[in-house]
Amino acid sequence: MAARPLREIADIVRSKNAGPYRITFDILCREKANYETIRNSGAITPETVARAYGLAPSDISSFFEIDMANAIKITIRRPRAQGSAGEGDMYGCQQHVPLMNMLVPLR
């Protein structure tokens, strides 16, 4: 089955702080069809995202499919609190690449 990386289907894949202890990821599509392709593929789930980041499933704090906005939202507990020792991304805005590269099978 053919598969394409998420970044070729979604229009925006972003990461950002949601408070000092969480990072939230948004996958946004302009076209409903693209959103549905991603949503219906089953490729993006709390379990698969955890695996893509080497996290335990319990580190995924929430997962939403938001049909109204053609969006999927995933939030993780950050391994290091914002601004704590050794933490390297104060705004949490450069953590999106493993998600962007996840493969979505095409039917």
């Binding site: 925006i12 950002k16 702080n17 949601a18 408070g19 000092p20 202890y21 969480r22 939230t24 948004d26 946004l28 302009r30 893509a52 980041y53 080497g54 996290l55 704090s61 929430s62 939403f64 938001i66 109204m68 906005a69 969006a71 939202k73 939030t75 507990r77 391994p79 290091r80 609190a81 914002q82 601004g83 704590s84 020792a85 050794g86 933490e87 390297g88 991304d89 104060m90 705004y91 450069q94 953590q95 690449v97 493993p98």
Partner: protein, 447 residues
């Protein structure tokens, strides 16, 4: 209730807005100018140190434009979370700028300042009374953590700002405030549905980030009996259902339920409707008041003093041996300075400097940017340890070395830079209060 228009000039005061956008926005007859000036987003430094996030130069330039516009139109100007963290020193600093602006521009106005500092003893009483809940920190707030806290604020809701409006304030300089509440305060004071006003505040607080093309720029919201309409100030931007609904997800975890001081907003029934090319109408937010009124505490503690060294590595033999070298150097430095503790961190750009333990790709880098970071109880010790490591690394011998004349390319002399005090978040918890205004005193001053 007649419709009420709020003009938000930008997402963070000091980060800019277009003159044309402000002029056009003011021509739409807003009832208030309201803007946010801070967040925890830039990290714990601004709360801990009391230093401003944005320079006085930028704050004064933008506040001058806003206060002049506000005075010309006879409408109030509200700024929340001033200085970046909204601490008392930051309120004082911004209020001093307002006094300069009033005097230099010959403006008469009533200034209200609202402090949001929480006495440590007040928070300790709440801990002892079991009235503090963990929000997302993952650990309970303790008396010990409060003893270490050098700055503690709480996010006010709209109520203290409404109190200042009721007292006739023309300019309101508020300490830490929930972003939405800064925007929502005036409409709620005038009788708007708090659910709609707060939902509008959530979207407007980032200025024209909810428009396309997005920018730090002017955005307007007009709330009526059943909903609100968003429109960017600049004619070169538009609000679309996509831009607004996408922004509703930004920087927050739950897109459907969002807690704030004393309430929870339910957005499951919301709908977005395109009006013409540039406006979006939003309806359907619902609000539930929480049984008890909780405010969010934000505290910072001093973690020590930091020195850093920045260096590049190009030799593939050094890059291949890097992990072992860094472990050895860290251990050697700890032994050297024992019993004084030091915290050593290496940010290895080109390997995993950005993502640390979340990095899953491990292809070898052609070039490494290395940041050596030491935090210790004094700046002198941090500097000494940082140089001990950078110097030892420069001349470190390892198996397979091909170039023994130096392992690090330093861009700077001195190689070691003192960064100063380092702060960490020490509180990010919810505290029960007796009333929404109890901890946020309003002070009035006629200029």
């Amino acid at each position: 209730m007649p419709p009420i228009t709020v003009l938000t000039p930008t997402g963070t005061l000091g980060y800019g807005f277009g003159e044309e956008a402000l002029a056009r926005g003011m021509s739409l007859n807003p009832a208030v100018i309201a803007v946010d000036a801070g967040s925890t987003d830039p990290g714990p430094h601004y709360l801990g140190s009391g230093k401003p996030l944005v320079s006085d130069v930028s704050i004064k330039r933008e506040l001058t434009a806003l206060i002049r516009a506000g005075r010309a139109a006879g409408i109030p100007v509200i700024v929340g979370s001033v200085g970046g963290a909204g601490s008392g020193v930051q309120v004082d600093r911004t209020a001093a700028l307002v006094r300069e602006i009033a005097s230099e521009n010959g403006l008469q106005l009533r200034l209200a300042t609202i402090r949001s500092d929480i006495p440590i003893e007040r928070a300790k009483q709440a801990v002892a009374a079991n009235e503090v809940l963990d929000f997302e920190a993952g650990y309970p707030l303790t008396e010990g953590a409060l003893d270490e806290t050098v700055a503690l604020v709480a996010q006010m809701g709209h109520e203290p700002i409404c109190e200042a409006l009721g007292a006739g304030a023309d300019v309101i300089i508020a300490g830490r405030a929930c972003d939405d509440s800064v925007i929502a305060a005036y409409p709620i004071w005038k009788g708007a549905d708090p659910a709609l006003a707060i939902h509008m505040g959530k979207i407007l607080e980032c200025g024209a980030f909810s428009a396309e093309p997005f920018a730090m720029d002017v955005m307007l919201g007009t709330v009526d009996e059943d909903g609100f309409v968003l429109e960017p100030g600049s004619i070169r931007r538009r609000a679309s259902v996509k831009s607004v609904s996408a922004h509703s997800l930004y920087e927050r975890e739950n897109p459907f339920r969002q807690g704030g001081p004393g309430h929870e907003i339910d957005l499951t029934g919301c709908s977005f409707e395109q009006l013409g090319d540039r406006q979006v109408r939003v309806t359907g937010a619902r609000l539930t008041e929480t049984e008890d009124y909780y405010v969010k505490l934000e505290g910072a503690r001093l973690a020590g003093y930091r020195s850093i060294a920045i260096a590049g590595i190009r030799c593939p033999t050094t890059i291949a041996a890097l992990d072992g070298i860094l472990d050895q150097l860290e251990e050697r430095a700890r032994d050297y300075f024992a019993p004084d503790p030091i915290s050593v961190q290496f940010h290895v750009y080109g390997r995993d400097g950005v993502m640390k333990e979340l990095e899953r790709e491990h292809s070898p880098a052609r070039e490494i940017g290395l940041v050596i970071e030491v935090t210790a109880a004094s700046q002198e010790l941090a500097h000494a340890a940082c140089h001990q490591i950078s110097g030892a690394m420069l001349h470190h011998h390892y198996e397979g070395i091909i170039n023994p004349s130096g392992n690090l390319a330093f861009p700077y002399s001195p190689s070691d830079l003192d960064v100063g005090p380092v702060y960490e978040f020490s509180a990010y918890h919810l505290m029960k209060v007796a009333s929404p205004t109890e901890l946020f005193p309003v002070t009035l001053e006629d200029l």
